[in-house]
């Protein structure tokens, strides 16, 4: 129990990071551009919260703490899933965009999908 007092703040930061991570998972289950942006913001919160854990631990002389290690390991597993998800999503979206590019603008002389030109409509008067 002595560790609980000693690392109280660090544990709170870790707990906050886990709560944010849970929110990220929930948001990614309802994909939309808004939820994607919100997830990115929440992940930056997680980064700050973990930075807080590191700062507190640096100031103290950490002792073995199975609970905290387990919490960090669980976060590591969740981060591994997220990393795999973002890597897969990037691959999927890149492939999809390539298909749209080639449909929209054909191919370059090198056989690559033509760059996408998304120009807004202009209305010229007078």
């Amino acid at each position: 129990m002595e560790n609980a007092t000693e690392y109280g703040d660090a544990r709170e930061c870790l707990q906050a990071a886990r709560v944010s991570m849970r929110q990220v998972k929930r948001l990614l289950a309802q994909p939309s551009v808004d939820t994607a942006d919100e997830s990115a913001a929440l992940l930056r919160d997680v980064e700050v919260q973990l930075g807080c854990v590191a700062a507190i631990l640096r100031q103290s002389a950490p002792k073995p703490d199975a609970g905290m290690r387990q919490g960090i390991e669980e976060l590591q597993s969740e981060v591994a899933v997220l990393a795999a998800f973002f890597a897969g999503a990037d691959k999927m979206l890149s492939g999809w965009l390539d298909a749209v590019r080639s449909r929209r603008g054909g191919y370059t002389e090198r056989g690559q999908s033509a760059p996408l030109m998304l120009v807004g409509k202009l209305s010229v008067e007078g």
Partner: protein, 476 residues
């Protein structure tokens, strides 16, 4: 009068077009929750007014457009294929994790621990018959644990191969179903949203089984290619695949299971084209992971290497040892036996020699100088010697490396399966979101997603680094 009839006819056609448009809307509402259904958009096109004949004068013509995006469908199929593979790996690796359990209570590490403890105890009083019996019992338990693991791995191999056969059957059934849909489309070229949904549903199921590429042809018929190369369905033709034992793969490696090959309808080996889907997961377990553990193809297998290493090391020491206390020193007897003629079956044939008794265990070392318990002491430390007897590792450590390989594969499969489930949901959601939108809108949406995810991905990398730092900061 002709122009009056033309005008009436035109008005009637217009009304029918609007009625069909209403039907399409009703159809969309009714099928909103049907799997694979894509909205249809009634497109009303004004027709040219023909001043000379009056035919089709003005009015509207209705064309039904399927809002399905072929890219979205492809993205969903690709994600389903990857999900199928990782989920299959996760399922197939679960029983392997039971055999290669990390806990010290699992049969092989526990038996090895007992064996080396019994050697240690015996070294304190080599003539003690209770200690000799304890060594014999521990050796028996070790042999049983290794045999049992070999049997379990063999059962997993059999079950995996059965799963490969049933998956291939399911792939062929889906291909036949798609061919039936192609026939129906050919007979009735009018777009049928219900049929299109059924076709899409079957294609998605097939995607979970293997990596396919779908090419839409004239009128909506599809060609389905396995691995982008082998035609499974071409119009009205199905080219069934089959799973066969590659009997040449294990030549010269008695006891090893042959690898499984997938062949096209002409008997060509197309195994390398199967890169995702549950079939790829099963092939990976059957042709790569299991042979590395129990032997297969040209591999002897880690469990057989462990069993042989243990038997050879213990037997060599005992045979160099002696049961005599004074010269001439009688050579000791081997404790373990195995069938050396079947390298990939060593773990299965590993046993305690039927000819040895406890009193024949050679505890002494003839030296010089002679030591009454020299051999027993060496045996007691055998598992922890610096240059280990199995691939430079001790037996427990070597078993740990096998466990670690299985555990890593299982953990990776679990991570990827979870991520893939999210990616399938992502692809399906995007599929819905881009229905009926222009290519530009579709591209804008994709770019927005991509930039948000790329930003998030960079933060994830930083978080991962921070977590690793934190782990090093908290002592174990």
């Amino acid at each position: 009068m002709g122009s009056l009839f033309s005008a009436l006819d035109s008005a009637s056609q217009s009304l029918q077009a609007f009625e069909r448009a209403m039907d399409v809307t009703q159809n969309d509402v009714t099928n909103a929750n049907s799997p694979g259904y894509a909205n249809q958009v009634p497109e009303l096109i004004s027709q040219d007014f023909q001043t000379d004949t009056g035919v089709n004068a003005g009015g509207v013509q209705e064309l039904t457009q399927d809002t399905r995006s072929s890219y979205a469908d492809t993205a969903v199929q690709q994600q389903l294929s990857l999900q199928g593979m990782y989920q299959q790996l996760q399922t197939s690796l679960a029983p392997l994790q039971n055999v290669f359990d990390v806990s010290s209570s699992s049969p092989i590490p526990s038996a090895l621990n007992q064996l080396f403890q019994s050697f240690s105890q015996w070294s304190t009083d080599p003539g003690n018959s209770n200690y000799q019996s304890a060594v014999m019992d521990a050796a028996q338990a070790t042999a049983q644990a290794i045999n049992q693991s070999a049997v379990q791995l063999s059962q997993i191999q059999t079950s995996t191969n059965q799963d490969i056969q049933s998956t291939v059957t399911e792939i062929n059934q889906d291909a036949a179903q798609i061919q039936t849909y192609n026939e129906q489309i050919a007979q009735n070229p009018t777009p049928d949203a219900g049929l299109s949904a059924q076709l899409e549903n079957t294609l998605e199921n097939l995607s979970g089984l293997a990596n396919i590429q779908v090419v839409s042809g004239i009128g909506g018929q599809v060609t389905v290619l396995l691995g982008g190369q082998t035609a499974l369905v071409e119009g009205n033709q199905v080219n069934a695949i089959q799973a066969v034992n590659d009997t040449a793969s294990n030549a010269g490696n008695p006891g090893a299971a042959p690898t499984i090959s997938i062949e096209d309808s002409n008997g060509n080996d197309i195994t390398s084209q199967v890169t995702s889907g549950s079939l790829a997961g099963l092939l990976s377990v059957s042709n790569t992971l299991l042979p590395s553990l129990i032997g297969g193809g040209q591999q002897v297998g880690g469990l057989n290497t462990l069993a042989q290493g243990l038997a050879d090391s213990v037997n060599n020491l005992l045979e160099q040892g002696t049961t005599s206390t004074t010269p001439p020193y009688a050579a000791g007897t081997a404790l373990f036996t195995y069938n050396a003629a079947v390298p990939a079956g060593i773990a299965g044939s590993f046993a305690v020699s039927s000819t040895i008794t406890g009193s024949q265990l050679a505890a002494g070392s003839p030296g010089p100088p002679y030591s009454v318990n020299g051999t027993a002491l060496t045996l007691a430390g055998l598992d922890s010697t610096a240059a280990g007897p199995v691939d430079g590792q001790g037996f427990t450590q070597y078993f740990g490396s096998l466990t670690s390989a299985v555990g890593y594969a299982a953990s990776n499969a679990s991570t990827e399966a979870t991520a893939q489930s999210q990616l399938v949901a992502q692809a399906q959601s995007l599929q819905q979101q881009v229905q009926g939108v222009s290519l530009d809108q579709e591209a804008i949406q994709l770019v927005q997603f991509q930039s948000s995810y790329q930003a998030a991905s960079k933060v994830v990398t930083v978080i991962d680094d921070t977590l690793q730092t934190l782990m090093t900061m908290i002592p174990t």
